[in-house]
């Protein structure tokens, strides 16, 4: 088991290193991204351009530049942006994390609440219309483009109905929890709902079908034959078993979102989180920031992946040999 975990985590490092190299190479292979002229300023003379190129080590060979960037990012931790010169990358990232966490945790609470309640309801309700209705809503949820939904929500709450129903909605952006908890809540309520719609849809659908699968397993039939009540079977066995799937799914989704995969939601609602930082740095072709956010995001994604794999290995020894 220890060996498996060891292998899994060394693989993780390998993946992170490959991603950083790929990002680096792709960046410098893109035509027109050479930051020297953008740093030097408009119509800078060729000598100034050369000095800037030299001071940012852009005249060194690629491998040297790569190693130097990694050293500044991980060892001396003083990597600075190409665009906002002097802005250290790591503090930018750590300042963006609370906003992303606020967004993702709030949305997760909403989607888990809706996902689990309606998932169980859909799988168990005696009312004939309930399951198709919930399933239909779930399908709509997973079929909505998030950024489009966000823009439509903004149109309604910030403009069309802002003078009447949605007078209380604050302008777009983010207010820290410690600054003003009530404003924090008001600023985040629509981003939460928008982000949660997609995941609630997914979780309803997954949970419903998982419960139905478990319900048809032999041991449930045995329980039923033993005379256990349907309610007991549903909650004690089926839901609990299905939650294992939900927990591992949640691990992956949460890891990805904390890593900045809520990019579009953050952009549309102007929340200065990791996703927005990634988006802005991509727009600016600001490699140091891109590198830091990508490393941060991939770490979470790969790490949660590895954790889920290890958990599965614990549950199912066959996987370990693979």
């Amino acid at each position: 088991m220890i060996a498996f975990i060891g292998r899994r985590f060394s693989a993780m490092i390998f993946v992170l290193v490959s991603i950083s190299i790929l990002v680096f190479l792709i960046f410098f292979a893109t035509p027109g991204v050479d930051p020297a002229a953008r740093i030097a300023g408009r119509n800078a003379d060729q000598q100034t351009l050369m000095q800037v190129r030299h001071s940012f080590e852009l005249d060194k060979p690629l491998p040297v530049r790569y190693l130097s960037m990694m050293r500044h990012l991980f060892i001396s931790r003083d990597l600075t942006s190409y665009v906002n010169r002097g802005a250290k990358v790591i503090p930018q990232l750590s300042q963006a994390i609370p906003a992303t966490l606020s967004l993702v945790i709030g949305a997760a609470i909403i989607w888990l609440l809706f996902g689990i309640t309606f998932g169980v309801l859909a799988a168990s309700s005696k009312r004939k219309w309930l399951d198709p209705t919930i399933s239909f809503l779930g399908i709509v949820g997973v079929s909505l483009p998030v950024f489009w939904l966000g823009e439509v929500v903004n149109l309604v709450t910030q403009s069309k109905l802002h003078t009447s129903v949605f007078r209380w909605v604050p302008p777009l952006g983010y207010v820290g929890l410690s600054v003003n908890p009530w404003q924090w809540f008001l600023h985040l309520i629509f981003p939460w709902l928008t982000l949660a719609v997609l995941y609630a849809g997914i979780y309803v659908r997954v949970l419903r079908s998982e419960i139905l699968v478990v319900m048809s397993e032999d041991y449930i039939k045995t329980e039923r034959a033993k005379g256990a009540s349907e309610k007991r079977i549903l909650y004690k066995h089926a839901t609990r078993m299905s939650l294992i799937t939900i927990v591992s799914l949640f691990g992956l989704d949460f890891g990805a979102l904390v890593g900045g995969y809520a990019l579009l939601t953050e952009v549309v609602f102007g929340i200065q989180g990791v996703g927005k930082l990634t988006f802005d740095s991509l727009q600016n072709f600001d490699l140091p920031v891109i590198m830091a956010t990508v490393m941060y995001a991939s770490f979470f994604v790969v790490f949660m992946n590895a954790v889920v794999d290890v958990l599965y290995a614990v549950l199912d020894p066959r996987v370990r040999r693979a």
Partner: protein
């Protein structure tokens, strides 16, 4: 930076213009004369500005963006400054940290200043002549963008450009602490030197300021405001400088707001909404097209529209097919419907079609258009009226370039992309196979400059540095501005015409001795070069400022746009 960042640097020329206007006394548009006296009853409150993105380093020797130069006006000072005033008077150069305009000697090669006494930096340290000398050396030590173009004429600058780290201007900037005097020595006379000394790259920082780009760390100021904190992803905060006392109402008047907050990361449409709802005082980014009608009707009293001397134009690569053929370039000039492009920009209130290279009301500008229906470059009309597609088509046929592929490189923001899509439609209709290539606005400007990228035609903007024809014609079409394989080669057309270049040198020579003759020549050169059509000029844009209902005392500077320190919220 979506909005182009060219800034204005007036020269003696504009000073002369103002002088002649005032002297003539017939100026109907009464050139404003400075700000009203300071009224303490309106002082206080916070002014909140909103922008989509920060503009990079806060270092005044590095930053070269309109976004921050607007702020430096209220915080940093040079020996000279631009006057706080309306209209043309905002182009006037006035003594700022110096007691008076420089005394010129040695045939214009030596400028002598006296430093004002009793001024302190925002950290409490007194301002001395040593700070002045260090600040000029710092221009080179930090590789300021204009080090090689504005300040290369100072004695000793050539060595500083080669080896910035050890830059010493002992002969170029001579100071005497006892007399508080500063003598600047130039290699050759330069009629634009006072302008260059008045822009933020020449402001005075403490000698202790870091000898590298200070980045996000604020450098102490001398003006009414100082920078308290700066996070490029969130917020820039300016507060009152406790050591500031007004020394010249024209150069650096006391400001009204107690604090100025600049919020970043707000989309343009959210900026507009915030100002409408009184949650912010002013919108930095251009107003989105779908909000223009709304603010022009419901919020008309909060809108300020001012003319700019600038142009939107299409540089055509004169070294690449099909635009290495003059007929192909003329065809584009005939084909584009400038009124349609004005529509995309926001309508006739926000821009005007032109086809001359020098913008209207610019020195040297002549009202003419060689590329409108019924006109030719040799027999131009007075103004642009309509496109001539039939003529354009036949020119393309004559040129033998019909059917060739043409790529149009534009920024990927909405307005520029729309221009590209429109242009594609036009080029297709006159016989090309055109494609639009929208690329990130952050790299488009440098991308289209580099010959390696083989850009055939693009959409770009140019805002004046200073109101002198040379800033348009010589900078954009001079041989010296064309450097193959460099990202910094502002002559995007790659146009290098030796006889034309020689004529431009002659016109610049006139600038020192006989500006009127110079401008007549520039006007002829404009028409002459447009026969060759290295670019197609589309229209001249205007600046639209949208402020909240509680924001008063709006004044517009031709140099730095809105005077932020003069805004009143009380």
């Amino acid at each position: 930076m979506r909005r182009s960042f060219r800034l204005a640097i007036p020269t003696f020329l504009s000073a002369l213009l103002v002088a002649s206007m005032l002297a003539g006394g017939g100026a109907a548009t009464a050139a404003g004369t400075g700000m009203a006296p300071y009224d303490p009853t309106h002082a206080g409150g916070t002014v909140t500005l909103v922008a989509a993105a920060a503009a990079g380093s806060l270092d005044p020797k590095i930053n070269y963006t309109a976004e921050y130069w607007e702020l430096y006006q209220a915080s940093y000072d040079g020996l000279l400054g631009f006057k706080y005033g309306d209209g043309k008077s905002s182009f006037e150069i006035v003594p700022d940290l110096a007691t008076a305009l420089p005394v010129m000697s040695n045939g214009g090669k030596t400028l002598t200043f006296t430093l004002r006494s009793g001024i302190k930096f925002s950290n409490g340290a007194p301002l001395t002549v040593a700070d002045v000398k260090a600040s000029f050396e710092r221009i080179f030590k930090v590789s300021s963008p204009t080090a090689g173009s504005f300040y290369n004429g100072i004695v000793g600058a050539d060595a500083c450009l080669k080896v910035p780290a050890t830059c010493k201007l002992d002969k170029g900037v001579v100071v005497d602490p006892k007399k508080s005097s500063i003598v600047i020595n130039l290699v050759a006379p330069d009629e634009t030197i006072t302008s260059k000394l008045a822009v933020p790259h020449a402001v005075i920082n403490p000698a202790s300021a870091p000898v590298k780009d200070a980045g996000t760390t604020p450098i102490p100021t001398t003006g009414p405001y100082m920078f308290k904190s700066y996070d490029p992803n969130k917020l820039l905060v300016m507060v009152r400088n406790p050591y500031f006392k007004e020394w010249s109402h024209d150069a650096q008047p006391q400001g009204y707001p107690a604090e100025i907050d600049y919020k970043f990361g707000v989309t343009p449409t959210a900026q507009v909404t915030a100002v409408e709802n009184n949650q912010a005082n002013w919108v930095y980014d251009p107003i989105p097209a779908d909000r223009l009608n709304e603010i022009g009707t419901k919020y008309a009293s909060q809108v300020h529209v001012n003319s700019l001397t600038a142009m939107w134009y299409l540089p055509m690569n004169t070294n690449l097919a099909p635009f290495n053929n003059v007929k192909a370039r003329q065809a584009v000039n005939y084909a584009i419907d400038r009124a349609a492009m004005v529509k995309i920009f926001g309508g006739s209130q926000l821009a005007a079609p032109v086809c001359s290279f020098l913008p209207p009301s610019f020195p040297g500008h002549v009202d003419y258009c060689g590329y409108t229906k019924g006109a030719t470059p040799d027999k131009p009309a007075k103004a642009w009226a309509a496109p001539d597609l039939a003529l354009a088509k036949s020119l393309v046929k004559q040129s033998g370039t019909a059917g060739q592929a043409v790529g149009i490189v534009v920024s990927d923001d909405d307005v520029n992309k729309q221009m590209g899509v429109y242009l594609q439609s036009v080029l297709n209709s006159i016989g090309y196979k055109a494609t639009v290539k929208p690329i990130s606005g952050n790299i488009q400007f440098t991308y289209i400059q580099n010959t390696k990228n083989k850009v055939q035609i693009s959409v770009s903007q140019w805002y004046q540095d200073y109101p002198a024809a040379s800033d348009f014609l010589n900078v954009l079409l001079g041989c010296a501005s064309f450097t193959p394989n460099s990202d910094s080669s502002i002559n995007m057309a790659g146009y290098c015409n030796k006889p034309f270049d020689a004529q431009m040198q002659k016109a610049m020579g006139f600038g020192i001795t006989n500006p009127a003759a110079g401008n007549t020549l520039w006007g002829q050169l404009d028409q002459q070069v447009m026969k060759d059509a290295p670019v197609a000029v589309a229209f001249t844009p205007k600046q639209l400022d949208f402020v909240s209902s509680g924001t008063k005392n709006y004044h517009f500077s031709l140099q730095y746009k809105m005077f932020i320190s003069q805004l009143q919220t009380k």
